[in-house]
């Protein structure tokens, strides 16, 4: 395929020093995409669990979770629908903190959310500083529309992996496709390799 007759760039050039993954464009907004209605989770019912192929399962209530060491990652995020947003500021708990002492015995996870959403992630994609469970965005509590009370944040993969309304990580021995992965999206989702869909 050569070029598209008559097509030329309209948007401003990407700022110098900024490199976007292939096929992405910059947005100033913060689009919301979802599969269904936004779940509403009262904080007195919220809990986060680590379960499955682990030496020891864990559970935190909202208050217990708030007492964990917190971090404020600033990261670039990339959506499979092609928008990217740079320098997003979050507050939450590193997954390394949550897995500290848990000793995962499986190499993969299925992340579960309130409302039924799931996504699969390899242990190595959510450890060593690569992932957080965040409850603050841009200095405010994370809104329900963007995944509050808390969502997973895995910025090195397409943002569908950053499961909104997260409730737990189930460690499993073999990789299995989660919600979007079962519907045609890539199992891993690395935006730098443009792994949008199955077979990419």
């Amino acid at each position: 395929m050569g070029f598209t007759r008559g097509f030329r760039r309209r948007h401003p050039e990407t700022p110098a020093g900024v490199e976007l993954p292939p096929g992405q464009y910059l947005t100033d907004g913060f689009p919301v995409l979802s599969a269904g209605p936004t779940p509403r989770v009262p904080l007195d019912e919220w809990e986060f669990t680590i379960t499955g192929s682990v030496a020891e399962e864990r559970r935190w209530s909202w208050e217990e979770f708030q007492a964990l060491p917190r971090e404020t990652p600033t990261v670039d995020i990339h959506c499979v629908t092609s928008w990217s947003k740079l320098g997003t500021e979050w507050e939450g708990v590193s997954v390394d903190t949550l897995l500290d002492g848990v000793e995962p015995l499986g190499a993969y996870t299925m992340v579960h959310s309130y409302g039924g959403y799931t996504t699969n992630l390899a242990i190595e994609d959510i450890t060593d500083g690569k992932a957080w469970v965040v409850y603050g965005y841009d200095g405010e509590p994370l809104s329900a529309e963007h995944g509050g009370p808390a969502r997973l944040l895995v910025p090195h993969l397409y943002f569908w992996k950053s499961a909104k309304w997260v409730r737990g990580i189930d460690v499993i021995d073999d990789d299995e496709p989660g919600f979007w992965e079962s519907l045609g999206y890539h199992d891993r989702g690395d935006p730098w390799l443009e792994q949008r869909y199955q077979g990419d």
Binding site: G2, R10, H11, G23, Y25, F30, S34, W180
Partner: protein
């Protein structure tokens, strides 16, 4: 190419080896400029699966990168890079039955139209209703074709002269009147800008529709 409104057009794409699609799916269009610059965006497929070829209806966004080209510049015979079909969630097959309740805001009607066209071509007897919010009658896609379906319109900026129908944003009262009650357990598909979808989905849940019966697809950006 078919002009739908002053700012929107339907492009019928002849794709060699198109594998077919399901009503509600979308495809990705990628444009490449002579200097190698590329831009890609997703567009819902408007045509029924039975048509055999994908047609997309594109609304020109003033600050858009791809839509202005597709709506204003593309001509019959032009070649576009297309990938798809994509999406397995926001889909409806006639074999799934109804009642089917489609709720669209503006250009959100596109994947819903694919479902209505499929229902007709498949000879389905599933009940189907469309609640369509548009700014003005001139902004309604497929206006003539929609006369054959059970459509309730609401206009949010300017209604036709003598209009006795809804003339406001979709709200809970309208949803209670214009669709199916929860007891009918309709399959509900909501599509439009994120604010529209968020509000409608929340009201549907508030009316007693199960969250698992509501599928949403959101267009566009939000601040």
């Amino acid at each position: 190419m078919i002009r739908e409104t002053p700012t929107a057009a339907t492009l019928v794409l002849g794709v060699d080896g198109w594998p077919g699609h399901r009503a509600g799916q979308h495809l990705d269009v990628r444009l490449t400029a002579e200097d190698g610059y590329t831009a890609q965006r997703s567009y819902s497929i408007a045509s029924a699966p039975e048509d055999g070829v994908p047609a997309i209806t594109v609304e020109r966004l003033d600050d858009g990168e791809v839509s202005p080209y597709l709506v204003d510049d593309a001509r019959a015979g032009d070649r576009l890079e297309v990938r798809g079909p994509v999406g397995g969630w926001f889909v409806w097959d006639a074999s799934q039955g109804g009642p089917l309740w489609l709720i669209g805001g503006g250009s959100g009607v596109v994947p819903l139209m694919s479902m209505l066209r499929h229902r007709q071509r498949a000879g389905s007897d599933a009940q189907a209703r469309l609640l369509l919010s548009a700014r003005t009658p001139r902004d309604v896609f497929y206006r003539a074709e929609l006369q054959a379906f059970d459509v309730t319109y609401t206009y949010t900026r300017e209604a036709p002269a003598g209009w006795t129908g809804y003339a406001r944003r979709v709200d809970r009262a309208m949803l209670a009147e214009a669709g199916f009650p929860p007891a009918a357990r309709p399959r509900i598909f909501v599509c439009g800008a994120t604010g529209f979808v968020e509000g409608v989905a929340a009201e549907l849940v508030g009316l007693g529709h199960g969250a698992d019966r509501i599928r949403t697809e959101r267009f566009g950006a939000t601040g």
